[in-house]
Each structure stands twice: as structure tokens, then as C-alpha cells.
Symmetry: C2
Subunit: 189 residues, 2 copies
DNA sequence: TTGATTTTGTGATAAAAGTCACATCAGGAA
DNA sequence: TTCCTGATGTGACTTTTATCACAAAATCAA
């Protein structure tokens, strides 16, 4: 049996079909139309989501200027949620909505903890993920502080070549912390 | 018995004296002079460190410009290491050195995994820490992208009031991703 | 298809921050 | 104390990026 989530977890903690079926039974499936919200500011955040299909953006809005900063995109094989609200069981400070029709698998904090407690393999998977996530965030911060706009964009192209023509440049600019005009002017020979 | 590390872990997972003694036996104590390196680029990173006393900086040097970016300070009650090198057991890409005479407790990856496996409480502590660390890094990134230099500095003052007069402004500027001159000019009435 | 909306590019100008240079100030070591 | 080093403040100028404005191109929905 092949399943995107099975491959995903299995890359860190190899799973038997039975183990994976058990894990999968703790998730709920959701199908969303373009522009639909998965997480909305002020609401509670019941799930952490694994993206099966489509594309989403997680962003926060500056209360003064009204401008938005995209802190993460979510496409196939990625996890997305308002991490702080999910783990602290508080209300969302960010929004997540769909750039395309999307399909996700959601797991509640309760089920997540249940799996972590019951299955050493899932606990290991989750711990490794947390570390890798932290490390990649640290690299992004470093690039943001030390790198020029050009370096940031080139790094993005290299890391996410499949997103360049899938996501509007204005959103990529927001992710890179630069105005869309400046990004657009980068490659004038 | 009172111990900084016991209070630190206990705030997340309360510990008996026996449990803490057992945990502590997995750490090694190190005492360092000002300017000494705890982690040096190119070397292996055997330990993750908890700071008992003193002040350290973790930074990376841009290979082109030679300028350094401080990604973390470490003072009492903080953890510090080259996370990526430590977990992947590769060589350091960053340097950590002492701004003051310092004392730290180090734990190897092996001992860390041993404790995580043996003690549910330590595992919980470590998981919670990873989450909190990720969340605070995310906030720092957000502030870096959306906030003005002034907002970033004010946030720093609010978060770390005790560091303002302990660490040179030029290093704080590096942490905030701004030149020391610009930081110095912030508060001309 | 067609009209509307979104996306993208680009000029002109303003604002923010960096860089270089130098002066002053504070603290540590002999 | 006295010298030396590192820390800090600030002027002058340059570079980078944001902002505003508008037009062309692409995409989407009825």
C-alpha cells in the first residue's frame, strides 16, 4: 500500500502497513476549495495538518500597516498549522488559507499525544521533525539577516523550484520579506 | 536541594531529588574563561550546553563579507549549541565563545537519547522545549521581516532587559540584523 | 468568448539603512 | 596613575529598498 503520509513518516521511522493504518485512523480528512480558510485568526486551532494535495499559505497581518507576512507555504508532503495556538490550545494569531483546491489530513493534539505515547516510532518521527524544523527556520533567519534580497530569492528557487511558477511572485516576495517591485526588478540583465 | 538546572527542568516536568541527581549524572561540568571557545567552526560538536553562569554568543561568519551574525546569546538558564551539528553529529558551522567567564553543563547526544528513552519526564521536557524554541524563533523571524529596527530593539529590551547593559551594543546590533551605527542613532530625541 | 480581476513590470521619488571616518569615553592592565 | 583597547556617538555620503503610479499581460469566471 502506498500513501503520501506513510512515505513521509517512513522516511524517518519505517512503518508496517498495520502500524500506518493505526496512525492514519487518528487523522481526519478535509477537502477545501481555493480561498477557503483552514485556520482563522481568533479561532481555536484543533488540528495540525499534513498536506496531501494543493497549496496553502500561512500568514500574519500587521495590525498597524495591514500588510501581511507569509511565514510558510504548504504543499504536498508538508505540515502546516498555527503551531503556537495548536500546542498551547489557544486561539490563532495567524491565518491559513488555500491558494488552490486542497486536501489535508488533520490530527488533534490529543491524538498526537496518544500516538506519541503509544508508539516509539511516532515519537521518534515527531522529535526528528521538530529538530529539522528548528534547524531550517534558523537557516531562514540567518539568510534573512545576512543575505541580500538576491541571495534570498536564489535560495528560494533552489529550495523550492516547483513553487516558482505555482505561486504569485507577490506572495513569494512577502515570504522573502521584500516588496514585490524589488523582487521583480532583480533580474533586469 | 536547589540547582539551576533542576528548577529549569522542573518548571516543565517536576522532579524528585533522586530523579534530578540521575539526570545530572549525565552532564559534564565545564568552566571557561572570557574569550574561550565552547564550539568552533569545523570541529565536531559533542555536547549541548546548559549555561549555569556567565554569557556566551553563538555566531556565524559570512564567508564573503567576513561579517558576523549573532544568532543567539546564552546566559544563565539558557541552552546553547550548534544544533544542526549536534543532532546530525557533523562538524560545526558556527562558533560559540564566552563574553564573560562562564560555567556550563554539557550533555552528549548519546546521554540525551538515553535519558529521553529512560525517563518519560525528560522526554516531555525535551519535546516541550523544542516546541517553545521553534515558536520563539518564528516570532523572531516575523519581527525581523515585519518590524522596523526600532520595534526590533524595543522588543529586545522588553524580552531581555538584563542583557542591555551586559552586552556591547555592537553585538546586540548584530543580533538584530542592523549596523551598530543605525542602532546607536535610534534614540536621538 | 469576453469582460473583469489579478499578476507582473517599470519609472520616479522618498525613506531607511549601510559605510567610512573620526572623536570621545569608559574600563582594564601594567 | 597612565596607557591602551574596545565601546559608543555622530557627521557626510552612498546604496538599497519601499512606495506610488500606471500600463501591459495573463488568468479566471460567466
Amino acid at each position: 500500500m502506498s500513501h503520501l503520509l506513510k512515505e513521509h513518516i517512513g522516511a524517518i521511522s519505517p512503518l508496517s502497513d498495520e502500524e500506518f493504518d493505526y496512525i492514519l485512523s487518528h487523522f481526519v480528512f478535509k477537502k477545501l476549495k481555493k480561498h477557503a480558510f483552514l485556520v482563522q485568526e481568533g479561532n481555536s486551532v484543533k488540528y495540525e495538518y499534513f498536506v496531501l494535495k494543493g497549496c496553502l499559505k500561512a500568514y500574519m497581518t500587521d495590525s498597524n500597516t495591514g500588510k501581511e507576512f507569509i511565514y510558510q507555504f504548504g504543499v504536498e508532503d508538508w505540515w502546516i498549522t498555527d503551531r503556537e495556538a495548536f500546542f498551547k490550545q489557544s486561539t490563532a494569531t495567524i491565518n491559513i488559507d488555500c491558494l488552490e483546491d486542497s486536501e489535508v489530513l488533520g490530527i488533534t493534539l490529543e491524538n498526537r499525544e496518544k500516538l506519541v505515547t503509544e508508539m516509539r516510532k511516532y515519537e521518534h518521527f515527531v522529535a526528528v521533525k521538530a529538530n529539522l524544523g528548528y534547524i531550517s527556520l534558523q537557516k531562514r533567519l540567518q539568510l534573512m539577516i545576512m543575505g541580500s534580497v538576491k541571495e534570498r530569492y536564489e535560495n528560494f528557487i533552489q529550495q523550492y523550484p516547483h513553487l516558482i511558477n505555482r505561486i504569485p511572485k507577490s506572495l513569494i516576495a512577502s515570504y522573502l520579506g521584500v516588496s514585490r517591485e524589488t523582487l521583480s526588478r532583480l533580474y533586469r540583465s
